[in-house]
């Protein structure tokens, strides 16, 4: 009934607004709210559909129902593991593990759709051959050699085979491969550049708006980022660091927005999203390393005194406590690194696993595939929603814990 009332035009006029002003509770089931919920749902379904299409390419079972039944009978056989392995090697069967690992990992070239891949620059330094720069399209999706290099399980290896040789006929040159340093612009590096461009565009714009419209109400992007900036300042920096918080605001804000944006970009299944940047341990390592450097460099006498010789602790306990404290100094950023990496990667694995279920079941029976897809899709929608929350929470947790470690390092001595 409430919905019908909402649609009724007279109710949307001033008397309705007056009602709102007089402090009546706002209707819960209002049209705008319903629209919002519906658009969220549809949006996430589209997300799911795009994901399905994306994941499904090439892996959708090619054989018909009869063939799959035969495959099922064969699978029940004792020789099944061997057969399955052989089939997997020829790319006949759907391999969920390979699909998932391919998606959470890094790659040379950015897969867009079907057989379309955005080629990315390959930059290789070899101590004997020097620097080589060429496009990843020369590798022909990892099937061909080029410039004395080829792709082997996703990484670049050196070979002595001629350009354009099929990788199955080329042998890996171990000593040369050991002398090779791959500094290519991979999918993750490209994603990093894109996110940097977005961050710079948004924040330079916002910063300009603050100087141009000083003292006025915020507009545009200012509305979006101002509450988050204030949140990081008040609830993270001020509460964890104390009076000296202002020195560390640039780092905390950068870390927060960098992690948050990349977590969100990782949830977008198509270009320019889809790279698993914050789920890459090298990226989280660098982030944690920056926190570690700040804490170590900015740590005051009080902080070092507490680590090396905790005041008010008997000598024999210090014998254990000091090594433990020194270990803790390294372990804290280490945990910071693992937490972000594990949370984001786990989210990606779960969402992709639900999708893989469709094809795993679809291989045994087409009907089962369709049946499972309903549940699968529902779970993926749920997981995507959860991941939106996790994207924020993990950015918050990383920033807050960084702020806490910094806070412990710059804390002034109390009167004991």
């Amino acid at each position: 009934m409430k919905i019908l009332e909402e649609v009724d035009p007279p109710l949307r006029d001033e008397s309705y607004l007056r009602g709102r002003k007089q402090g009546y509770p706002p209707p819960v089931m209002s049209i705008p709210n319903l629209l919002r919920a519906a658009s969220l749902l549809i949006g996430s379904l589209l997300f799911g559909a795009a994901n399905a299409q994306h994941e499904g390419h090439g892996q959708v079972p090619q054989h018909d129902v009869v063939d799959s039944t035969v495959a099922a009978v064969v699978a029940a056989d004792t020789d099944a593991p061997k057969l399955a392995l052989e089939e997997a090697e020829h790319g006949g069967r759907f391999d969920a593990g390979k699909l998932i690992m391919g998606h959470i990992g890094d790659e040379h070239g950015w897969h867009l759709w079907g057989h379309t891949t955005l080629p990315l620059p390959i930059i290789v330094y070899n101590t004997e051959r020097g620097v080589s720069v060429f496009s990843s399209s020369h590798f022909d999706h990892g099937h061909k050699t080029y410039g004395g290099y080829m792709l082997h399980e996703g990484s670049i290896v050196a070979t002595k085979a001629e350009d354009g040789t099929d990788v199955h006929h080329a042998t890996i040159d171990e000593p040369l491969t050991k002398a090779t340093w791959d500094i290519s612009i991979t999918k993750n590096v490209m994603s990093l550049f894109i996110s940097l461009a977005i961050l710079l565009f948004v924040f330079i714009g916002v910063a300009k708006a603050y100087t141009r419209r000083a003292g006025q109400a915020p507009t545009g992007f200012q509305n979006l980022v101002e509450p988050i900036i204030l949140f990081v300042r008040d609830d993270v920096a001020k509460s964890a660091i104390g009076p000296k918080y202002m020195t560390f605001m640039p780092y905390l804000l950068t870390a927060f927005f960098f992690i948050f944006l990349n977590n969100l970009l990782g949830l977008v299944p198509f270009f320019p999203g889809g790279a698993n940047l914050t789920g890459n341990i090298a990226v989280t390592l660098v982030l944690a390393l920056i926190t570690f450097i700040i804490v170590t460099v900015k740590g005051n006498k009080h902080y070092w005194h507490h680590i090396l010789a905790m005041p008010g602790v008997p000598g024999w306990v210090l014998f254990i406590l000091t090594p433990v404290e020194i270990l803790g100094m390294f372990l804290k950023p280490f945990v910071l690194m693992i937490r972000l990496f594990a949370n984001i990667t786990a989210g990606h694995i779960i969402a992709l696993s639900f999708f893989s279920l469709i094809f795993v079941f679809g291989e045994t029976n087409a009907g089962a595939g369709y049946g499972v897809s309903v549940m699968s899709l529902a779970f993926t929608v749920f997981m995507t929603m959860l991941e939106l929350l996790v994207a924020f929470i993990q950015a918050y947790v990383f920033t807050f814990l960084s702020a806490m470690y910094i806070g412990a390092a710059v804390e002034e001595p109390h009167h004991h």
Partner: protein
């Protein structure tokens, strides 16, 4: 986004933050025990005794250390 600071009373907010403080505690404790164990194992290898005394002693020290660490981290800060 700035919701928690406005809606949640200040005291409750501090409570959440202190829970957050302990999220890495388990991993840190595991890390401490492992580090002591490996240090003992390595030292035993270096010294070359028949019986791995240092592995046993240092792994137990690691457990004690992680307990001391836990106690220190959870005790109220002055």
């Amino acid at each position: 986004m700035s919701g928690p600071s406005r809606r949640v009373p200040k005291k409750a907010q501090e409570g959440y933050n202190s829970y957050l403080r302990f999220t890495g505690l388990g991993f840190t404790m595991i890390g401490i025990i492992l580090a002591f164990c490996f240090a003992g194992y390595w030292l035993d290898g270096v010294i070359g005794w028949k019986y791995p005394v240092l592995t046993i002693v240092l792994s137990l020290t690691g457990i004690a250390g992680s307990m001391v660490y836990l106690f220190k981290e959870t005790s109220t800060r002055k």
